[in-house]
């Protein structure tokens, strides 16, 4: 049926193949050959950047799709049907299939469950069986889909710009290996990103067996070297720290954004959130940091300070808490009040607390954290240690220096780069780009022909993770097999294939490589069964690495502490902070429109990064938000717009990495934001003193989705302490008590769909926003239109600053989508019945009936309705159309749209249930936002069954209705955000 396949005959599904007797994944492997559409199919520059000119061109391109809304009243020529020539066994057109796979970011994998229609992956979810995911997925995982179909991805293998075949490259690689044999491969270097993949480790060894002198380097701009160094300092060997926040009653974060970043953030968020609700013993979070992070936003007490002062703070804490360090040098740090209180709170919760140090902090802070945890007896209770999952623990900017030195001195003849875009991400002082010029045989393997590709002789396009065979390991070591969801859309080879080329196996195909590796592993009598299970579950059971108990080396720590204490706190000037970006990470996602248009959780800025300053500092510098300034650090300078952020530390400027890309083909990324790598020093990659900020005089224009910070004293996102909740239940009661009405209640005999959102659990990570965008075919509109207030996200996360001081605000997040009011104000103003109520209480939006008066939006007090001001469908390029969810209508120009509670999922579940002659089970329907939510803040279900969790939450003491006094009777209920401040501090 046409409606199930909006891409029509363009999709090469007719060429899918399957041998009935084979397993599904084999059919996918077959699928992995020969379905790559021809390059010329795509118009030049079809990646739809937000400039109008190209948009016009693309409107013509997509005119047919844009007419979808008209289809009802226009007779069209007969539509073509392209059936399979041989239908794969398990594929019923219109019925999705789900495959387990995994995606590794900086080498650590998150398990995924991917939905696929007729061989087109259309949605990504977390894999419930995977330890790091537990069914959740973050913004990066959710947005993978778009980069898979990104038309800007590299299309061909090139040698000095000219197209080459994979075969040609293999010959070249073989020659290279022969050449290097003479000196054992001394001139051969591999630069990869940290990777826990067993297969890659194996290839690594095999290359060394052939060429013992070959050298392997790892580089990731956001690598967490300091953590391993800290462990080495504390325990004598690098160890991986695993925190179990679900056991911690008191959490002290020393500049650690464990909710917003880090390899295991999804699990951390889940566990942390589980302690933020009254059902469990409420935990208390202290955060010490400079720039306001997601973790800082969740803090019960937050202490702003320069990143460089955190070490002193940690020292002070350690001295109070760990007797083993007593008698050490007395730090000149004037111990602040919160420090003592924190210390007391930690002491009161020995074995039930945890101190975590941030990756941005130097090793000593990590060591001190370990020391404190040991002193408090938290080790093996809330925090455990294990052998690192990552083989290469020195991967930060510093680790890159020796390689660059060799490159300059010409000692590197052949350099195989698989690390993402080092020429861009390498610190400026290394000048990796020019060094690369000195390497005669540079081979770059990447998704895009980016800044690095431009400097390399050879370019080999990489397959996207969803197109690749391979394996990966989770933070706890659990192995996942990475299986492809679709044949490479553009010519590409996997990381493994590339390295295999240097052991003469480059032509075997990634599938063979990974399968052979695992076939060779001992202890698997029935390999096929193992393999099948591993693919099906997405994890290899019992492959997690075991934790071990260790004891700190107090003397070493004390010595290091003494040294640090002796060292005066870093000098004057402004301290420049470098932050991982919440959206483009280190810049690798810069061409992903979903992420670029996603509002930053804290600043709500889209399509940009900014130099963050505290109100005080901004005042002192005489700048305000959107002023362009020149930041100078160690003689290197950078122009960036200022954003004044409450809660930011004084005399500190923070800027996110990953912007200001100049990638050749990544048109979306080009010129978005400022490139902080240009001023990032390799010896101080996270924060450096002595920066100066000078006002340029020009102003930038931010596209901010929420430029008003406060709630204006309105009862929107309610916050309370458990005590207030006990003492003043009426304050919540009056936000939910039934209001008088003239109307007879409308009966809802069967299901009564409803949602609840627990503000205590929501950490504002925004994964739900991207999930919603992916599930519901929500268009991207570009910076200009976001700035005009025309963003299309059905679900937005409001961020409010509250509290007495604008310098130390309390932050609260509130996801707001259509509330599905039973007395919906939007409905009675629609002149054409385009929005109406279903017999189960859904507020339905009928796109094909909408004429676009926009009256409903005016009358929606929550302002959650979105309008198609232009023809956005027409702007979607061919590959982008392939990712559209066939279960959701494409909206034409001029119609309203909004959250539907994922009605397509409800209807599918209903039909499945009714065909099977049963009712829909509790939990059978998950909305996209709910399914991806790392903290389980969103719950969906039917109120007609009191046992349903959503019904329980609707009856919760913390439940309230948004803008309750209007009497709209929303079906979405909110649960009051709980704070657990320390009485001594409040």
């Amino acid at each position: 049926m046409s409606s199930l396949d909006p891409t029509g005959p363009d999709v090469p599904i007719a060429r899918l193949r399957a041998r009935p007797e084979r397993r599904l994944w084999r059919s996918l492997e077959e699928l992995a050959r020969g379905t790559a559409p021809a390059g010329p199919e795509f118009p030049p520059g079809a990646s739809a950047p937000p400039e109008p000119s190209r948009r016009d061109f693309l409107q013509l391109l997509g005119a047919s799709a844009a007419l979808a809304g008209l289809a009802g009243c226009v007779r069209e020529p007969p539509e073509k049907i392209l059936p399979y020539t041989r239908r794969p066994e398990d594929v019923a057109p219109g019925n999705p299939l789900h495959y387990a796979t995994a995606y590794a970011l900086d080498g650590i994998a998150t398990g995924l469950l991917v939905t696929s229609y007729e061989g087109r992956p259309t949605k990504i979810e977390g894999n419930p069986d995977h330890p790091s995911s537990r069914g959740a997925a973050g913004v990066f995982e959710q947005a993978l889909l778009l980069s898979l179909y990104d038309p800007a991805r590299a299309r061909a293998i090139r040698y000095r710009g000219a197209g080459r075949s994979w075969r040609a490259f293999l010959e070249y690689a073989a020659e290279a290996v022969d050449l290097h044999r003479k000196d054992g491969g001394a001139g051969l270097c591999f630069l990869g990103e940290p990777d826990a993949s067993p297969l890659m480790a194996d290839l690594h060894e095999r290359v060394l067996r052939a060429l013992p002198a070959a050298r392997f380097f790892s580089y990731a701009p956001l690598a967490e070297d300091a953590a391993y160094e800290g462990a080495r300092l504390a325990f004598g060997r690098p160890l991986q720290t695993r925190v179990d926040f679900s056991r911690a009653r008191v959490v002290v974060s020393l500049d650690a954004d464990f909710l917003g970043g880090g390899p295991d953030r999804l699990r951390a968020a889940r566990e942390f959130a589980s302690r933020r609700v009254p059902e469990s013993e409420l935990s208390r979070l202290y955060v010490v940091e400079s720039a306001l992070s997601l973790t800082g936003a969740m803090a019960d007490h937050r202490v702003r300070m320069r990143s460089s002062e955190v070490v002193q703070f940690a020292l002070g804490l350690a001295l109070e808490l760990s007797p083993q360090l007593q008698g050490g040098p007395h730090t000149q740090l004037t111990a602040t009040r919160p420090l003592h209180v924190m210390a007391r709170d930690l002491l009161a919760n020995q074995g039930r607390s945890v101190v975590v140090a941030g990756a941005r902090q130097p090793p000593l802070v990590h060591a001190l954290a370990h020391a404190i945890n040991a002193a408090l007896g938290n080790a093996d209770r809330t925090v455990a240690y294990a052998a690192p999952t990552l083989p290469d623990m020195a991967a930060g900017p510093a680790a890159l220096a020796p390689l660059v030195a060799d490159m300059r001195s010409g000692r590197v003849e052949t350099l195989v780069i698989t690390a993402p875009n080092p020429a861009y991400t390498a610190p400026a002082d290394l000048d990796f780009g020019s060094a690369l010029g000195k390497v005669p045989h540079a081979i770059y393997h990447g998704l895009y022909e980016d800044e690095t590709a431009a400097q390399c002789a050879w370019f080999v396009p990489a397959t996207h993770s969803l197109e690749s065979w391979g394996d990966a390991r989770a933070w706890d070591g659990t192995v996942s097999i990475v299986q492809p969801l679709i044949a490479p859309l553009f010519a590409g080879v996997t990381h493994a294939e590339l390295w295999a080329a240097f052991v003469g196996e480059g032509d075997r195909g990634a599938h063979a490589l990974v399968q052979d590796y695992w076939r060779r592993q001992p202890g698997r009598p029935d390999f096929d069964a193992f393999w099948e299970e591993a693919l099906h579950d997405g994890v290899v059971r019992g492959s997690a690495t075991r934790t071990e108990s260790v004891t700190p080396r107090w003397a070493d720590i004390a010595a290091a502490a003494a040294a640090a204490a002796a060292k005066p706190t870093s000098g004057g000037g402004i301290e420049l902070n470098f932050l991982p970006d919440s959206k483009v990470y280190d810049g690798r996602f810069a061409n992903n429109a979903w992420l670029q248009e996603l509002p930053d959780p804290i600043t709500k800025i889209t399509w940009d990064n900014a130099l963050l300053l505290s109100p005080t500092t901004a005042g002192r510098l005489g700048v305000e938000s959107a002023d362009l300034v020149e930041v100078t650090l160690r003689g290197r300078s950078l122009a960036a717009p200022v954003f004044v952020l409450p809660g930011h530390a004084d005399d500190v400027a923070s800027i996110a990495l990953g912007y200001g890309r100049t990638g050749l083909n990544e048109e979306l990324a080009q010129g978005v934001g400022a490139n902080a790598y240009l001023v990032r020093p390799s010896d101080a990659p996270w924060f450096a003193p002595g920066a100066s900020v000078r006002k340029i005089g020009r102003r930038a224009r931010f596209a901010i989705t929420q430029d008003h910070f406060t709630m204006e004293g309105r009862p929107l996102a309610l916050v309370a302490t458990p005590r207030e909740l006990r003492q003043h239940p009426e304050r919540i009661e009056e936000q939910r008590a039934a209001l008088p009405t003239l109307y007879d209640p409308v009966p809802y005999p069967s299901y009564r769909w409803a949602m609840s959102i627990d503000l205590s659990r929501c950490i504002g990570c925004s994964a739900c926003v991207v999930a919603c965008q992916a599930e519901n075919n929500i268009p991207v509109v570009g910076k200009e239109r976001v700035a005009r207030g025309r963003e299309m996200h059905w679900l937005r996360i409001d961020r409010y600053f509250s509290g007495p001081s604008a310098l130390d605000p309390e932050v609260v997040f509130q996801p707001v989508a259509c509330q599905h009011c039973e007395n919906a104000p939007c409905e009675y103003v629609c002149p054409v019945n385009a929005t109406a109520h279903s017999d189960e209480g859904l507020n339905e939006m009928v796109y094909n009936r909408c004429v676009g008066t926009r009256y409903c939006s005016n009358n929606c007090p929550y302002k959650v309705r979105r309008f198609n001001f232009f023809d956005y469908v027409g702007q979607r390029t061919q590959p982008e159309r392939m990712l559209q969810n066939p279960e959701v209508s494409i909206r034409s120009r001029g119609v309203m749209e909004k959250c539907t509670y994922c009605v397509q999922r409800i209807e599918r579940a209903r039909i499945d249930a009714r065909v099977a002659g049963r009712t829909i089970r509790e939990g059978e329907i998950q909305t996209a936002c709910q399914q991806t939510c790392p903290t389980r803040a969103i719950v969906f279900g039917s109120l007609h069954d009191e046992r349903a969790e959503v019904a329980r939450l609707h009856a919760d003491e913390r439940r309230y209705d948004l803008l309750h006094e209007l009497g709209t009777r929303p079906r979405t209920a909110y649960l009051v955000r709980l704070r657990n401040p320390n009485p001594e501090l409040s």
Partner: protein
């Protein structure tokens, strides 16, 4: 004579006024009728297909069940358009030399899909699901007509929303025992009303007219 207008202008003026008035009304009425006419809804004769596939022969003569070719009708939204391999299951053995089937064989062996022309087309914003209708006892014939008597398939139902609503508001007349779903010639027993109501109860038929039933 000095009158500005000759006498006949009286008749003309009145006549033209009447025409003006009637013209508007009649035009509107015709428009309303036209959009529901077979010509507009597409019930206007068969649609040419690349291959002369004759349902009369396959269904009536050979007695092949609908589900043999449209195999996902009970499990999926789409009834399933038969893959060429399905054709070849039989025509690999019989008529495997027939020139009529040359195109089919060529397509099959060259692995190229034959571009058929859609006959029953719903707009893209309508989500029709075969499986649920079949499961609740709606026969193929109710919407597709006596395909077993069609040389080339023709759209017999208007497929307008009004037509859909008709059945969703009163499904009884269109229900039949599940085992008769694909039996195109099936006639309900004398008092079809009673059977309809019985089946509604038996199959727990619960037709909905909420927008999201079909529009998402």
């Amino acid at each position: 004579m000095s009158a500005l207008f000759p006498p006949w202008t009286n008749t003309v003026s009145r006549f033209s006024l009447v025409c003006l008035a009637l013209g508007g009304v009649v035009g509107a009425v015709l428009l309303v009728l036209w959009v529901e006419s077979p010509y507009f809804t597409g019930q206007h004769g068969p649609i040419e297909q690349p291959v002369q596939f004759d349902h009369r022969h396959h269904v009536a003569d050979d007695g092949i069940d609908c589900r043999y070719c449209h195999s996902t009708v009970e499990t999926a939204a789409s009834a399933g358009f038969p893959a060429l391999s399905v054709c070849m299951n039989c025509h690999g053995q019989i008529w495997n030399k027939s020139p009529m089937l040359e195109q089919v064989r060529a397509a099959y062996f060259s692995d190229r899909a034959i571009p058929w022309n859609r006959v029953h087309r719903l707009p893209d914003f309508v989500y029709f699901n075969h499986s649920i209708h079949v499961a609740k006892g709606v026969g193929c014939v109710s919407c597709h007509g006596r395909v077993d008597q069609m040389a080339q398939v023709t759209q017999v139902a208007p497929l307008t929303m009004g037509w859909c609503l008709g059945c969703h508001r009163a499904p009884e007349p269109n229900l039949r025992p599940r085992e008769e779903i694909t039996h195109l010639g099936w006639r309900p027993p004398t008092d079809s009303g009673a059977l309809g109501h019985a089946l509604v109860a038996q199959y727990d038929v619960h037709t909905r007219v909420s927008c999201s039933t079909c529009h998402r």
